[in-house]
């Protein structure tokens, strides 16, 4: 009988045999786990510059087309206000990211300094 408990071993053996015959050459063990934090940090800089997409302003209800049109009309009428709002928020985001970057650099400096100093003991 084909027991489920034996299946993984059989699959591993089959994969090894297939690889020996030249198959699965392009199959790479992929990195488990979430994306590295660096990717998210890079994204932070992209997100700091706010660029709302008017295409996302829509109604999801049935027969929502007139509601969508009304929402977009309101956005056009309020464009001056939103430009000001976006500018102020973007300025804050960019300044804050710059501040975080300076703090990171300072921490790295202090850590490097601390690790190079001789341990004087108690």
């Amino acid at each position: 009988m084909s027991a489920p408990e034996d299946a993984l071993g059989r699959a591993r053996a089959a994969a090894a045999q297939m690889r020996a015959s030249g198959a699965y050459a392009e199959a790479r063990a992929t990195r488990p786990g979430p994306p590295p934090p660096e990717a998210a940090e890079l994204k932070l800089y992209q997100w700091a510059l706010i660029e709302p997409d008017i295409a996302h302003v829509r109604s999801l209800r049935r027969f929502g087309a007139p509601v969508t049109a009304l929402k977009r009309l309101l956005l056009r009428l309020l464009v001056q206000y939103h430009v000001q709002l976006i500018s102020e928020q973007t300025r804050f985001n960019v300044m804050l990211l710059g501040y975080v970057r300076r703090l990171e650099s300072r921490i790295e400096e202090l850590e490097a300094q601390a690790s190079s100093e001789p341990d004087l003991g108690p």
């Binding site: 009988m1 084909s2 027991a3 489920p4 299946a7 993984l8 059989r10 699959a11 591993r12 089959a14 994969a15 297939m18 690889r19 198959a23 699965y24 392009e26 199959a27 790479r28 063990a29 992929t30 488990p32 786990g33 979430p34 994306p35 934090p37 990717a39 998210a40 994204k43 997100w47 999801l60 209800r61």
Partner: protein, 351 residues
């Protein structure tokens, strides 16, 4: 009369926790209990009787059942209420999976994980829908925990059709779950492409689930087009009947998710007699038990060969089907309802 108010941070028409809250409400009514259901964010299209949480005005002695799966917008106000509180923790996706593709969702998840500390300290009883989730509560200091598995209604998907011993025609592989980085549909597409290339050129993959963001959905679609053109179908917004049809039409269910607090589709796959291949991540091992094939190997060739084995071995599939049916008996609604009732009563009687 006991009155239980259920609170959700968000509610939606395709949301498993919203569905469970509505099933709970049916049970409470059957037991002669009162109360209402509230959410802070209610998605359009939800026709069920969920009220805006800002209208919550509990009477003294009413129990608050907090379904925790994301950040709460006004947790301080909620915690300040003197009512007995029962936490039901459904797990919160670690935000580092989500920052890159869905920053708003990630922010909600980050808040939800932070708030869990406060919740654990403030509730009379901390319950979770899996032992894995209960373990996270215990790590945060919860001294009394209970496990109340997710209460699912498999009947809503329709009956399971009889299955032929052999897979005839083009094999169809299925996964159901939100299109999200931690569910690893990307890895499934890569693995499926290998299986298709070396074992079954006519195989198909069906991915059912709403994308966590438009951009992530588009990314998966691009990956599918490049690796297995024309062989991968991504479907969103299916009705329960349509979802049942996808299970009936599939030959195997493969879940390469790396974080799951429960994973209902595994039980749905058992219901439809599908063999299950899954990563042993989070709560998956305790849900699957011995009824599925768990594979931790990082080598996608091993997963592809396991899929080939399970689709080609009628005896193996038959045994897995038998075990799957047996596994479902551990998640019988009446057993879970009994645990729910005991948890509410324990929260009421706690000092």
């Amino acid at each position: 009369m006991i009155r239980v108010h259920q609170l959700l941070s968000g509610a939606g028409p395709h949301d498993a926790i919203t569905t469970e809250a509505l099933v709970f409400r049916g049970l409470f009514s059957a037991w002669g209990w009162g109360g209402e259901d509230y959410a802070y964010r209610i998605a359009p299209g939800l026709e069920a009787g969920i009220t805006d949480a800002l209208r919550l005005r509990p009477e003294p002695g009413d129990v608050l059942l907090l379904h925790h799966s994301a950040g709460w917008p006004r947790l301080d106000e909620l915690m300040a209420l003197p009512n007995p509180k029962l936490l039901l923790y459904h797990n919160v996706t670690p935000p580092h999976w989500l920052w890159e593709h869905a920053p708003m969702v990630a922010a909600h998840c980050a808040a939800g994980r932070e708030q869990l500390h406060e919740l654990v300290g403030a509730v009379q009883l901390a319950a979770a829908d899996s032992a894995f989730n209960a373990g996270e509560l215990a790590e945060l200091g919860a001294t009394r925990t209970a496990v109340i598995p997710l209460l699912i209604e498999l009947d809503r998907l329709g009956p399971a059709a009889p299955r032929a011993p052999e897979v005839t025609g083009a094999p169809t592989v299925l996964f159901v779950g939100r299109l999200s980085p931690h569910k690893r549909q990307d890895e499934l597409i890569r693995t499926f492409a290998l299986y298709r290339r070396y074992r079954a050129p006519d195989a198909r993959l069906v991915l059912v689930g709403d994308p966590i963001s438009d951009s992530y959905g588009a990314l998966l679609a691009r990956l599918a087009r490049s690796l297995a053109p024309g062989a991968v179908r991504i479907e969103t917004g299916l009705s329960p009947n349509e979802l049942g049809d996808r299970f009936r039409a599939a030959d195997a269910f493969v879940c390469l998710s790396e974080h799951e607090g429960f994973c209902i589709p595994l039980l749905e796959a058992f219901h439809f007699g599908l063999p299950v291949i899954a990563r042993p991540a989070g709560a998956i091992p305790e849900v699957v038990g011995d009824a599925g094939l768990l594979v931790a190997d990082a080598d996608p060739a091993v997963v592809a060969e396991l899929l080939h084995l399970v689709l080609g071995d009628a005896e193996l599939r038959s045994e897995l089907r038998r075990r799957g049916r047996a596994r479902l008996s551990d998640f019988q609604p009446d057993v879970i309802a009994g645990r729910l009732r005991a948890a509410v009563e324990a929260a009421l009687s706690a000092p």
